[in-house]
Every structure is written in structure tokens, then in C-alpha cells.
Point group: C2
Chain length 502, copies 2
């Protein structure tokens, strides 16, 4: 295939102006505890760089003036000026006469170097395009940041079965090529396969109760757009999956956080705020790793029915039970009878994120409403992707054990490594999922994340996962990387910790 071509000249007149401004106060709040060991200007530059890499500070944001930031942080203007200069040197800021200093992403990753080669470009929640080949092309690559080890993005590589699944899907494709290719609810075999999987798990489900979506994120966005309007309330856990909270916020809703896994507080929040929607991750919670008990699930379903509130259970991680006794035996939807309980699932973690296929399991009338919403969103999900997922679901029992064994070994490696590297940390070993939710013992998540970047590792600071910027004493580390990468990362994280604490 044709994957190379001459690079066209960059057209003139297309400078990239900053699209938003950040006040000095907001910047200070965003940085939190940024001071580490060493010179203040270096720590400040590191914290700002980390904020860009973790996605809390959007690229092309105009930063406050050196003077204002100095006042807000209680440091000298020399410090802020030196920090901005350092950011510019690293390629994380540009300054233009008359328009101040603007945060940008450097072109820094392995994949970014050859924009014309078919090298993969990765990048996912919760960090922004750190290392992706999508930053401004006129900035030099900072050498010390060329290929950071990314423990921020919980994105496992593909199952080895994926290629064969696509080959089989390609055999089934010709039956669809004579049609327009749009199946608004999903192709029938996939709706049936997803329904069968729920039924096999004890949740009787008909294909008409399944909507195929373009990934779980779209499922969440459709639910948000369909059930929540401006000024209404949605409840999420805190911490929670960051893009779910974002999708809810995009509707103009007020997003209220309750402590993750605390069903009693959830009940009182529902009573008090009468939300339109509650979003939970019941299985191997992202980021804490905890699963709700069977009783807690039953309480949540009761709550849904009592208050008539739509409760969405995100089962994206459900397949990823790593400990022998960790398999989820009480599906979130229970017996499937509640008209208010909605389940969301996805092929992204079980098989591959580069497959964009997810689904909603809901009462049929909810499926119909969501399908109508989705017509103005993306019309339908790609047919071949759906066929591949039919194949992968049918071979689930062959595929998952190997994948889980791999992830289990990597989890253990990172847990042991992190505990050895910094004995003061609280490093729980989650029973499933893709991440460790590490307690630092001190509210220095942003400063530590910045120091980690300086050591060449991306981590996701706790405040990213909370609606109110809490969890400053936590970072999320994914173990969805190769053993060699994890071993390297652990050494670097230890060094980063000493930068912050020494």
C-alpha cells in the first residue's frame, strides 16, 4: 500500500493562536503541590510540563504572564521567567511578541519522527497526545524526552488472535458489500453474540436490548446526551474514568462525585441531588481496582428503581480478572429486569483498543432512543470491525487466558518493583484491571508526575481522576507495558521520587 508521499510545504498564514487562556490562580490550582527538591524554576517547569503531558493543561493554552504567575505562586518573577525559558527549551512552550507564552506539545515520540512512515501513533486516556505525532511540526524534538515510557495510558497491545479474527471477518464481509453498510443498531450477528454473552452470565438478554456503539466511550457519550441535559445532575465516583466525567460535563450537566465504591454515600447523593444518570465502574474500578460486592450491586439496582434514575455500569474491564478467585460472578445488571440499569461493554481492553467496538445493554426502548441519538453522532459502526468482534467473542475462552496470564505477570512485576523502589508507598495489588492506584503518602502527585517526566516516565497524577482535583496523594500506574519497560520504569520512578522528596 502507498504509505509514503512527499511532505507538502506548510501553508503560510496558518499560525496556531492560543485558543484559551489560563489565569494565574487557575494555573496555581492546577499545579497543586509543585515544589520538589532542587531549584524552584526547574520544579515549576517540570510541573507545567507534566500538566501538559497528562492532559490537565491543554496544548495551545495561553499561560499567565510571568508577573501574574509569580504573584499567584508566591515566588519571584525570576523563577517564573526561568521556568518559562526552560519550558521553551524543552519544546513545551512558545513565546511570541504580543501574545505571551503558549503551552504546546513538542514533537517527541518515536512514532512522531517519521510522520510519513506507517509507524504506529498511540495515545489514550487520561493523558493527552503525549508522544503522539500530532504536535506542532515546527518545534524541535527535545532530546531528553524523545520516547518517554508511558505508564499513564492504560492501553494494552492487541491480542495475538486479532489478525486472524480480521482475516475471518474479511471472509464474512462480502455478504454486506451489496448494502449501504449502515446498521444503526449494529449488525445482527454481533447484537446476538453480545446478547448471548450476557445471557450466559445470567442476565437474560435479547438482541433487541443491545446497541452496538463505536467503542465504550461512544456508549457513555450517547447515554449522557440522551439522558442528561444542561443544568441537570449526573453522579460519578471519585476517582473515576476521566472521559466519562468529560462526556457528562459536555451535556452542560453538573457532575457530582461520591467516593468510589461507597454505596451509602451514593444513595444519599441520589436522594439529595436527584440526578438523571449515575455512572459507575463496578468491576476492577478504574483507577482503584476495587469491585463492588454482590450486595452493593443489589443496593445500586434498588436505588435505580426506587428513584427512577438511570444507572450506568461500565463493564469495560470485566473480562480482566487477574486473580484466580476474582472473576466477576454477579453481573452489574443482576437478573436484567430493572428498567433503569444499563450496562456498557467494549472490545477495547479484552482484545484491542484499535478496534472501535463497544455496546450498551439496556431495555429495548432505551436502545431505540440511543439509536436515534447516534444517527446525528456517527450514523453507525464500521461493519468489518463488528464482524471481527463476533469472531473474537466466539473465541473468548481461548483468547483470554493467555492475555490474563500476561497481564498478571506484569501486574506482579510492577507491584513488586514499585514496593521495592519506594517502600513508603502504598502499592495495593488489584484483583483485576490494568492499573495500580498507588498511595504516595504525601499530596505531591503533580510534582511527582513532573519529576517522572524528567526521568522519562509518564504517569497519571491522581487529581486527573477526580471531579474536584482531589487525590493529590495518588498516582495511577498501568502495568499494560512489556516487562522490560516496566523494569526500566520502576528504576526511573524511584529516581523521580527522590527528586521530589530529597
Amino acid at each position: 500500500m502507498t504509505l509514503t508521499a512527499p511532505v507538502p510545504a506548510r501553508p503560510a498564514g496558518l499560525a496556531a493562536p492560543a485558543v484559551c487562556h489560563l489565569s494565574a490562580t487557575a494555573t496555581a490550582r492546577l499545579l497543586g503541590e509543585w515544589r520538589g527538591g532542587g531549584p524552584a524554576y526547574l520544579a515549576l517547569a517540570d510541573a507545567l510540563r507534566s500538566a501538559v503531558l497528562s492532559g490537565t493543561l491543554a496544548p495551545l493554552t495561553r499561560l499567565p504572564s510571568e508577573r501574574d504567575l509569580a504573584a499567584a505562586l508566591g515566588v519571584s518573577r525570576t523563577t517564573t521567567a526561568a521556568a518559562y525559558a526552560r519550558l521553551r527549551d524543552l519544546g513545551f512552550a512558545v513565546s511570541r511578541v504580543g501574545s505571551g507564552t503558549v503551552a504546546v506539545l513538542p514533537r517527541g515520540s518515536a512514532s512522531g519522527r517519521g510522520a510519513r512512515t506507517p509507524a504506529p501513533s498511540a495515545g489514550d486516556a487520561p493523558t493527552a497526545d503525549a508522544g503522539a505525532p500530532d504536535g506542532p511540526r515546527d518545534l524541535a524534538t527535545p532530546r531528553d524526552l524523545a520516547t518517554p515510557l508511558d505508564l499513564g495510558q492504560a492501553t494494552p497491545s492487541a491480542t495475538p488472535a486479532l489478525h486472524a479474527a480480521f482475516s475471518r471477518a474479511l471472509e464474512a464481509l462480502p455478504a454486506y458489500l451489496g448494502t449501504g453498510g449502515y446498521a444503526h443498531h449494529g449488525i445482527a450477528p454481533l447484537r446476538a453474540a453480545v446478547a448471548d454473552r450476557y445471557t450466559a452470565r445470567g442476565v437474560p438478554t435479547a438482541p433487541d436490548q443491545v446497541l452496538v456503539t463505536t467503542g465504550a466511550q461512544q456508549a457513555i457519550a450517547l447515554l449522557a446526551a440522551t439522558f442528561v441535559g444542561p443544568g441537570e445532575t449526573a453522579v460519578v465516583e471519585s476517582p473515576t474514568y476521566v472521559h466519562a466525567a468529560d462526556a457528562l460535563r459536555r451535556t452542560g450537566a453538573r457532575v457530582v462525585g461520591v467516593p468510589a465504591g461507597d454505596v451509602e454515600t451514593l444513595a444519599s447523593a441520589v436522594r439529595r441531588t436527584r440526578p438523571r444518570l449515575v455512572y459507575l465502574v463496578p468491576d476492577f474500578h478504574n483507577p482503584t481496582g476495587r469491585s463492588l460486592t454482590a450486595d452493593e450491586r443489589a443496593s445500586v439496582r434498588d436505588l435505580a428503581d426506587r428513584y427512577g434514575v438511570t444507572v450506568v455500569g461500565d463493564e469495560t474491564l470485566t473480562d480482566l480478572a487477574l486473580d484466580d478467585d476474582a472473576a466477576i460472578r454477579s453481573p452489574f445488571a443482576g437478573d436484567g429486569a430493572s428498567p433503569h440499569v444499563v450496562s456498557v461493554g467494549s472490545a477495547s481492553k479484552s482484545f484491542w483498543g484499535g478496534l472501535r467496538v463497544g455496546w450498551v445493554r439496556a431495555p429495548e426502548h432505551v436502545v431505540q432512543r440511543l439509536a436515534r441519538t447516534r444517527q446525528s453522532v456517527d450514523i453507525a459502526t464500521a461493519v468489518l470491525e463488528q464482524l471481527a468482534v463476533v469472531e473474537l467473542l466466539s473465541r473468548r475462552d481461548e483468547i483470554l487466558p493467555g492475555r490474563l496470564a500476561d497481564l498478571r505477570a506484569r501486574r506482579d512485576l510492577l507491584v513488586d518493583g514499585a514496593r521495592s523502589a519506594v517502600p513508603a508507598w502504598d502499592v495495593p495489588s488489584p484483583a483485576g484491571g490494568l492499573c495500580l492506584w498507588v498511595g504516595l503518602g504525601r499530596p505531591v502527585a503533580q510534582a511527582f508526575a513532573a519529576a517522572a517526566v524528567a526521568e522519562g516516565v509518564l504517569v497519571a497524577p491522581g487529581p486527573v481522576f477526580t471531579p474536584d482535583g482531589a487525590a493529590r496523594d495518588r498516582v495511577r500506574l498501568t502495568f499494560a507495558r512489556t516487562p522490560a519497560e516496566l523494569e526500566d520504569a520502576v528504576v526511573r520512578l524511584g529516581r523521580a521520587w527522590r527528586r521530589v522528596t530529597d
Copy 2:
């Protein structure tokens, strides 16, 4: 692959309640001129059925009571009662004690019959899931509507080159399988290929100015969500592509229509309403088929720059030039220098709708903003789909001539057939695109569409395409069907017209 499985029992307690009510006045307005020849109750039932099939009346809408509707329409209650009974007989309505009459979609298509087989299920804009296998499964299939000929959905079948393109894409896929699979801006080879195509057309474009999206619909939805907020104004043409107007309405915006192709009225609407976004189909307009002249395009760009309003040109149909001299030689973006002109494109019409790949060409800072919005929408577009489109774009010059020759023959067949079938119609032959915008000479589009359904043909009545329900004297007919289907359809449309007019 495993494509068959036992059908699980339908769980109890999941009745599908109506989710919205339609007042008698609104129903009357929606039906417009519904009276045709023959008994009034049959014409009324046909008009309601047509409204469901064309998407103007959403399934699961609760209809007004027989009494209220009779009063609003000025007919007897016997007529409305008989019409509802007929709708029920046809599977387009269910009545339940205490909850009145609810419009539904019957299970009606060939693909719907075997929900467990890999038979294709199609369905697309602007009609709803007519004939899709997604209606309530407990309704009998009305025999006389088993497989309507669908001239409503402008969805051509796949290019014969599609399967080979996926095979080649599968060869390139392994390079990506070690990554998480998320490329928020699109994979580098596709951004480059799209940029090269714009550059080759005279619009200098760098890959950083391209965002890959999950189809053009997502591109439009992202632009709407990013640029337009509640209470703000967006301007569209009237008639226009219906899902674009829907996506804009979803933001809470006021959507103002100006006559399609009338740049002067557009200018005065922009001056008067100061919209945040203008959406146009400059090439082979959907549904009128007309293209803007080079001067008109220049005027639109001037307007964008003068008022700082984002003007989106939807180039989905640009490749489909059917007449020899119809190729679009003046790309909507001009020299690409305007910071306010945004182009949207797609693989759906040029290659296949079942590929969900589109793109935005915009200034780099706009691409960055859209990419941030899309993280809470669907994260990224499927990798294999993108690789297939790289391949298809590289073979564009081999693929398109055959596809265009096919479509040209079909257009001519439908134009000639429609002119012969009903000499009174105004049947313009569009220079490109997929549809005829037929003038009926009388404001009976809804009644005619209903009569066509009764004759086994789906057509899209004009009011579907206008923000204010105008164009009642128009229907849109697509010629993206096989010659045999078109020949059959023409005969049926002639019969349907006589039903309305005799």
C-alpha cells in the same frame, strides 16, 4: 466464524413504553397534505406509515387520541379509528389499554427475518431504520411490506476494490498491534494521504491540518459541539443534509435555514444573525444536486473572513461528478488560507458507507480543539479502517471511473424512467451526487411518499430536508440502486402518483 446461536427468551418486564407524545396539532402539521385518492382512513394510515418510515415520526412516539386527531384533521373519529386499526394491522402501531396508540417500526426487511444469520442489515439517512432488523421483535411482519424498494437512502454499495483494500490493510496492521491502538488525530499515513489529496487539488495542506474522524457525520458533530453552544445560531441551507441540521440542533443552537445555493441571502443571514457556524454542501448539493460556482465559493470565504464565522463545506459528494464537465475544479477551501473555512470529507460515498472514516481539513489550532472534543466522544477511529482508506485513496484514480460510470447509467435510467412515468414532474438531471430532487408540481410529498410505501417503494419527502417543513412539493429519489430495482421502482412510483392524483 460463529454466527449462529440460540435465541434467548425475551425477559419479562421490559415493555417498551412510548418515550414522547405527539399532540394532535403537531401530528396534523407533520402530515401536511395527506389526502390522496381513495378512502380517507387509508390515506391517513399511509401518511402516518410514511412518516414513520421516513423518520419524521419517531418510532415509540405516542400518537394523539383518535378523538383529538379527528378534530385536528377535520375528519370523523371513525376515520382516525380505522386509520389506527390499519396501522396496527400493518405492524406500524401498537395499542395498549391505558397507553393509547404508539407508532412502531415493524420487522419488515429480508435481513430482519434471520436475525441470527450474517445477512446484512442496511439503513441510513435520512430515513430511519425502515426495513432494518431492529424493530420490536414481537410484531408480525406485514407481508405486503416485506422488502420495500428503498429509494430513500442514498447509500451506494461498496466499490469492488474494497475487499482487496482491506486485505492490503491487514498486511500493514501488524505494525500497530503492539500499541494501544489509539491515534487521536488519526494514523499518520492517512493524515498524510488526505493532506496530499487536498494539496493535489490546489489547497496546500499539511498533515497537521487534518483530523481523521469516524465518518463525516462525526466530523460535523464535532464541529457543532466545538463551535456552537446553547442559544447560539447556526445557519444551514434549506433544503440540506438532515443529520447535519440534527447535529447542530443537539448543541441547543437555533438552526436557521437559507435557500440552498443562494449566497446573497446567506450573506444577509450571517449579517443579521451572527451565527457561530455555517454548514454548506458546496458540491453536488444534497438534495438539490447543484454545485456552487467558483465566484460563489469565493464570496462564501470572504463572508467567513469578514464576520469571523466558521464556514463548514461538506465535500462528501465531491468525488461523484457524473457529467464529463462536472468535476469540481474549485475546492471549497480555495487556497486554504482562510482561518475560518473548514472542509469535511469522507470515504462513505466514494468507496463504502460501511467504512466509517471521514476527516476535517482545518487550521491546525482548530484540529487540536476538535481532537480534544473527540476524546470524550469516541477517543479514536478504528486503525484497520484507516489503513484501508489509505489504500483506497492511493488507488482512487483506478477505482472511481468504474463507480462513476455505474452511477451515471443509473442516474440516466431513473431520470428517463421518472420523466416517462409522470410527465408532469420536474425531474432535473444532477451533474453529480446520488439523488434526484424531483418537483411534484403540487404540495403532496407526504401523501405521495405514503402512497409509494403502499406500492412498495420508500422515498424521502421534501419536508425531511428543510428546517421548517417546507419543500412539500418535492421528493428525493436516490439512483444508488441496481438497474433492475430502479426499473421496478419507476413503475411503482407511477402507480403511487396515480393513487394520489386520480
